[in-house]
Amino acid sequence: MAQTSANVKKGDHVQHHFVDSDQQFESAKMGMWIFLVTEILFFGGLFLAYIVFRSWYPELYLMASDHLDTFWGAVNTVVLIGSSLTVAMAIRSAQLNQQKGLIINLAITIALACIFMVIKYFEYTHKFDLGIYPGAYYAYDGIAHDKANIFFSIYYMMTGLHGIHVLIGIGLMIWLIVRARKGHFHSEYYTPVEITGLYWHLVDIIWIFLFPLLYLID
């Protein structure tokens, strides 16, 4: 419930339509959580397509999954989990007023995210070299199944959309670093760090589902 304390002096960071800092923080956090729900439903559609086609062509999934590189997939999983840790540490630093820690942790998170994308890039180009393109452009004959293109369409859609989310996350964290260097964040106000962290955890969790579903089923 909205608490009214009209005579309490507000901090600079509190927008005019909020009563106090707490209300603003709680609102932002709740907004982000709801947004994450929409993200889950967004990916939910893809997971559903995955399930439908897997129940139709179970053997295809087993065969095609062989062609995904489990080792690099696992490395990427570790990388992303690590980045979730560092983003959590960034929030902690902000709460403790540690400007330097905040910036360093954000920078490490960005670096890990970039590593993830680089590995993904090599995975993609390797497949393209083999002729494993999405949809009608599929031109690989190493998989003895005439619907092999479907698996890779789903693979590209899922990992591609996830990759876009990683890129957005990188963008957000660069923006956070810029603001952190200007000293915008402190123990009283670190809302953007907190909600970007929430977003980043979701990106991480989605990968944690994608990895076993795509790479580990063989």
Binding site: A49, A136, D146
Partner: protein, 577 residues
């Protein structure tokens, strides 16, 4: 004024703040100029920007509809080709659904009214609100590009495999709707958070208006369903761009899966299109019956029930698409269930009017039209939900008539009711009551003349989406077309007197309808920050048995955190100038 207990922990010093009759500064007189409007984060201005946009699209969609109806005057081709006809009905449907009806009440009227009814200064995320408007504009631009670069002839449902193979610029259109979806999602997020976090002191969940409850239920549907539409349209776009094959049987995919995806959004979306209307009905019926709403919790919770059940019935659009008969039976049964919460609402509204002192002003007149037309729409929906009947009626004009009775007879009537209800609050001007009533009657007659014959010819077998037809249907089609012209005249009358009201309308008092609801307890139009004080709520918005003074309380001595606007104190001085 007395001190009152407003929550279990706090005692607040309150006094009465009478809304100002002649506000010197309002949100319309401050921060003017094109640039200030385009960059505004004020929910009221954003609401008006949405209002202007959806009215524009309503005009475009309506004009297209008149073209379609004119073509159908004769059984053979009259003046447009079959291909053009297909493109026009696609555009008509897509524009009316995605660009007019979905944002009509939430984004336009809701944006304006929601913070006023909560007694807060703005929605929780004002900048996100502005962003959502621009996303809407970008989506619209994509759609316009699609129209001028080949057009789209798939129908608003974009069914595969046709949509994946036909010519024209389907991709632009689906991308446009995809983008638009984010605008809808952001509005939903914003509203939910605002209702949770920004209520006035004392405004507990049982003291928020039923319009807010309906927006809350709508927002839940928006955030849960719209992302699924987004991924569906993205997959369809990829289908066209890369032939990914998920929906394409030639590549091993499944077109019925597309229908499942699409209706998993679009059936809940029909509730996005009607539930906010329910909220308006509750507001107007209570205000113009001068009576406490009957069954507050029944109405509030039935909105949530509809939102919930609405997610479980999408299969009723696919009874003939090769679903298993078990699935058909389950979906048919669940479809019937939706009728229950809907019926609960109707009974409560009628019970509210019982022994009330009913004032048939224009908004109330529209709500009477709503009750009548929406009931026909709802009952025919139940008929379509029964399996054997639907096999006969599916894809006929009967379905067309059904959804026009709910969408236009229901939601558009509620929207018009709401527009007339809040118009004085939005612009501080009254409209001509006489002409407004005339227009309402004209629209009611025109509507029925247009769509009643469609039930008949539909049940006789006239299929939808055809531009030629057998001669036996000509009488019905002609009646329908003439009806649509009458409808058009009705809307022109509205446009005329609303324009007149804007330019020369009589000044509106703060509370022209004598309502107890909160948005009426501030000046018309409201000031930039809605209230000059922090409102305190001790009664529900429908407590007509309590004196008006109890609805205008605010925290003693506060200026709503904005010291520079002190009209309450300096009122007499400024009025003298």
């Amino acid at each position: 004024m007395a001190t009152s207990e407003t929550s279990n922990i706090k005692r607040l010093q309150v006094r009465r703040f009478k809304p100002e009759e002649n506000p010197k500064s309002t949100y319309l007189t401050e921060e003017t100029g094109i640039w200030a409007w385009m960059t505004t984060v004020d929910h009221k201005k954003i609401g008006l920007m949405y209002l202007a946009s959806i009215l524009f699209f309503f005009f475009v969609g309506g004009t297209l509809a008149l073209l379609l109806r004119t073509e159908l005057l004769t059984p053979a081709q009259s003046f447009i080709t079959a291909d053009t006809y297909n493109q026009i009905f696609t555009l008509h449907g897509a524009i009316m659904v995605f660009f007019f009806l979905v944002p009509s009440v939430p984004a336009a009227l809701g944006n304006f009214v929601l913070p006023l009814q909560l007694g807060c200064k703005d929605v929780a995320f004002p900048r996100v609100n502005l962003l959502s408007y621009y996303i809407y504009v970008i989506g619209a631009v994509f759609t316009l590009i699609a129209i001028f670069t080949g057009g789209v002839d798939t129908g608003w449902t974009f069914y595969t495999p046709y949509s994946a193979t036909t010519g024209g610029n389907v991709m632009m259109m689906t991308l446009g709707v995809f983008i638009l979806g984010f605008s809808s999602i952001l509005t939903g997020v914003n509203f939910i958070v605002t209702i949770h976090r920004l209520r006035s002191p004392g405004q507990t969940w049982n003291k928020i208006s039923l319009f807010l409850w309906s927006l809350y239920a709508t927002s839940i549907i928006q955030i849960l369903a719209t992302p699924v539409l987004a991924i569906t349209l993205l997959l369809l776009t990829m289908e066209r761009a890369l032939h990914i094959g998920i929906f394409d049987p030639a590549l091993g995919g499944d077109p019925v899966l597309y229908q499942h995806f699409f209706w998993f959004y679009s059936h809940p979306a029909v509730y996005i299109m009607i539930v906010p209307g329910f909220g308006i009905v509750s507001e107007i019926i209570s205000t113009f019956s001068r009576k406490h709403i009957f069954g507050y919790w029944a109405i509030a919770l039935s909105s949530l029930a509809i939102a919930f059940i609405g997610f479980l019935v999408w299969g009723h659009h696919m009874f003939t698409a090769g679903q298993s008969s078990l699935a058909n039976m389950v979906f048919s049964f669940l479809t019937f269930l939706v009728g229950i919460p809907t019926g609960i609402k109707i009974f409560n509204w009628v019970a509210t009017m019982y022994k009330g002192s009913i004032d048939m002003k224009t908004p109330m007149l529209y709500i009477m039209a709503f009750l009548f037309l929406f009931m026909i729409g709802g009952f025919t929906g139940i008929m379509l939900g029964s399996l054997a009947v639907d096999i006969h009626l599916h894809d006929t004009y009967y379905v067309v008539a059904h959804f026009h009775y709910v969408m236009m007879g229901g939601m558009v009537m509620a929207f018009l009711g709401g527009l007339h209800y809040w118009w004085p609050k939005m612009f501080g001007k009254m409209y001509n009551e006489f002409w407004a009533r005339i227009a309402c009657v004209v629209i009611f007659i025109g509507f029925n003349l247009t769509f009643l014959p469609q039930f008949v010819m539909g049940s006789m077998g006239m299929p939808r989406r055809y531009f030629n037809y057998l001669e036996q249907f000509q009488g019905y089609h002609q009646a329908s077309t003439y009806g649509s012209y009458i409808l058009g005249i009705g809307f022109l009358i509205i446009a005329a007197y609303l324009l007149h009201s804007l330019l020369r309308g009589k000044k509106a008092p703060p509370n022209p309808w004598g309502s107890r609801a909160m948005e009426w307890q501030t000046s018309s139009p409201p000031s930039l920050h809605n209230y000059e004080h922090t409102p305190v709520v001790i009664n529900g918005p429908y407590d007509y048995h309590k004196p008006m003074s109890e609805f205008q309380l605010g925290i003693e001595g506060s200026h709503n955190g904005h010291g520079e606007h002190q009209h309450t104190e300096t009122k007499t001085v400024e009025a003298d100038k």
